[in-house]
Symmetry: C2
Subunit: 397 residues, 2 copies
């Protein structure tokens, strides 16, 4: 991180505002010196936190200039009062920066069901605005963490119309992770000039192959939000639907967001391993992802990974209940390149020790070929350890 996590026109800062606990960075601010074209993807949960509903409303005209994030209280299930407080704390940011309220995005993560108190925000605002700096985005990455052990950042550059544009991203997330359109919180900032429709489309495409393909524990948050702000200061020809470099920008955006998503899985609550579940030969891409998702969420599969036990029976049991159609007698399963199941039958003790060696790695893939079509898809998951239970049996209390 450090100098690298900078992109022209964007500044950041974070402070300890004592929103829920004392003496930890819990309030962060990102500011673009000029209003940026903006797009967001949000939780598909029916229960959406107040800042998610406010953010969706404010993004309708595709512009944003500031993002305030608190990591103490989620402001979910807080009713009309919660919405009032989301607006009120957003207005403090607008007033502090001298910009329109509608250009402020408010994001929250933390405990569900508790109300914010406005006082810590009011007290912290002058210091927060005063600290804004190009280097401050690194503090933002730390301040948005909850049960995360490490900050999550990514940086990419790409040439657009002969100009180099830069993208930086920060994200948080460790538990309640099976995003569906987004992850807990992710913010991608670029100096590229991008048309609003193109930006929204590219964000959705990138989310579908990154944050929407990860799971830690199968639970989807009320607060999932990914925002993408493009302030245009790179001076490139505007990227619109017809731009020749749109594909190159999309590829780099996908790569950056997948990088952040995998950082979340690696830092999954209690996780010791990152596992790619890759399904090929399915009847459709949708079926492949559905099968991969079922396996990626199976506690029995994930505890076997933790135990470094090449227990493919649990994988095929999860496949069997996944709801997709296939022929159990044609399934191949390999751990990395060690094929343990061929045409539905285990390959026995001969490959067991090699498969176990694969599972002892920090990262590996499970490759499943259903041999019944051309559909393929991946999910990224972690193992399920004793620490997951320890963390979640006393997270709140």
């Amino acid at each position: 991180m450090g100098d690298d996590l900078q992109v022209q026109g964007f500044v950041g800062a974070a402070v300890a505002a004592h929103i829920r606990k004392k003496d930890r960075l819990d309030l962060a601010l990102i500011y673009s010196e000029v209003p940026a074209v903006a797009a967001g993807v949000f939780t598909t949960s029916l229960v959406k936190a107040a800042p998610v509903r406010l953010g969706m409303e404010r993004l309708r005209d595709g512009r944003a200039q500031a993002i305030m994030i608190n990591s103490g209280i989620a402001n979910a299930c807080t009713g009309a009062e919660g919405m009032r407080l989301a607006r009120a704390t957003g207005k403090m940011v607008a007033d502090g920066l001298g910009i329109a309220e509608e250009l402020v995005q408010v994001s929250s993560t933390g405990v569900i069901g508790e109300q914010l108190r406005p006082e810590p925000f009011a007290a912290a605002m002058p210091g927060l605005v005063g600290k804004l700096s190009a280097a401050g985005l690194a503090d933002v990455a730390r301040a948005i963490m909850t049960t995360d052990l490490v900050p999550k950042t990514a940086v990419r550059t790409v040439a657009v119309g002969g100009r180099e544009v830069k993208l930086v991203g920060v994200a948080k997330g460790s538990g309640m992770i099976m995003p569906n359109m987004a992850t807990m919180l992710g913010f991608v900032l670029t100096d590229a000039a991008v048309a609003p429709d193109a930006l929204a489309g590219m964000l959705k495409t990138a989310a579908d192959c990154s944050f929407n393909r990860i799971t830690v524990d199968g639970d989807t948050s009320t607060n999932d939000t990914v925002l993408l702000l493009a302030n245009g200061l790179a001076g490139n020809p505007v990227i619109d639907a017809a731009a020749p470099d749109k594909a190159a920008f999309q590829a780099v955006l996908n790569d950056l967001m997948r990088d952040l998503a995998l950082q979340i899985v690696r830092d999954g609550e209690g996780a010791t391993k990152l596992i790619t579940i890759r399904v090929t030969g399915a009847a459709s891409d949708e079926a492949a992802v559905a099968a991969a998702r079922t396996i990626a969420n199976s506690n029995l599969v994930k505890t076997a990974f933790f135990g470094e036990d090449a227990n493919w029976g649990r994988i095929i049991a999860a496949l069997g209940r996944s709801g997709i159609d296939f022929d159990a007698e044609r399934v191949d399963i390999a751990f990395d390149d060690v094929r343990m199941v061929a045409s539905g039958l285990g390959q026995g003790a001969a490959v067991e020790s090699r498969a176990t060696a694969v599972l002892k790695q920090k990262e590996f893939s499970v490759n499943i070929d259903l041999h019944c079509g051309n559909g393929c898809g991946e999910m990224y998951t972690c193992d399920f350890s004793l620490d997951y239970v320890k963390i979640n049996a006393d997270y709140r209390s």
Copy 2:
């Protein structure tokens, strides 16, 4: 157990046959002195073990006289050879008892993907048949256990046409428990006379409100099987679709099967608590059960139960992703009778200590009223402890 677990005309026995491990009861036999009317419900997994496929085939004519169960090897994902071995070991039973092969049901539970060896079955068969006794059903209950800590049995009686009929049931299951049509293994024996169609219908009804409403870990087994045998020795008027006492018999069957199902959840891998998730006020019964099922399978909810933390935010987050329609601002949530959420808002510190006291109990219910219809439904689940991970990180190795 003991004398009580007897029903006229049925005998049982169990031996240590060394099918996979030494010196534990791993082969059981149930025998009816006369051919019984029989019905079964089986896993809905697309991946069905050989004994499940054989059992379904043999039950088409609605009769059975013997059930052999091995608890060493599941005989799942074993191809044509696995099916040949299921038939071959079934034939050993038929020959030993002097009955037709088609009257023998074969059930298996244990490791997926390994082949049975016929030798231990052949060696054990004379001793197994020789030990059959009315009191032996208690040994059957013990011999079918795998990661179970306690045997699971239930006994009921009911008057049918002036005659008392008796039902006894045994079951096993602790992990890979989210049955869908059945549980790991359950066997219900009765001396009632029941018409085949009525028996099959009543078993399905009872399974839908018992084994199909429990979850330990959200995983459905390849071997789930519940068999119901009625040998008619009670001499009651045959229970058919029009019988006046059919409803009474159904009620007792439901009660017995729910008893067994709850014994499985109480003995869920690592479980310390039994929790009923009850959803009312849903748009339909199906929606209520879907919501209850999502909550009952949430690792975050279940680890909070283990931590005795009345963290209702995780419950409402699970509701939000359950796929059913409701209004988050009308939801009430109570732990037993302590209402923590009213109209979507937490009731704060005032009720927290009372709610925590509820969670400290061994058994309690979570009562959720969606206030958007008349649909209701329940699921039964357990908490998610450190021991769950310990058990499953090294179950196979």
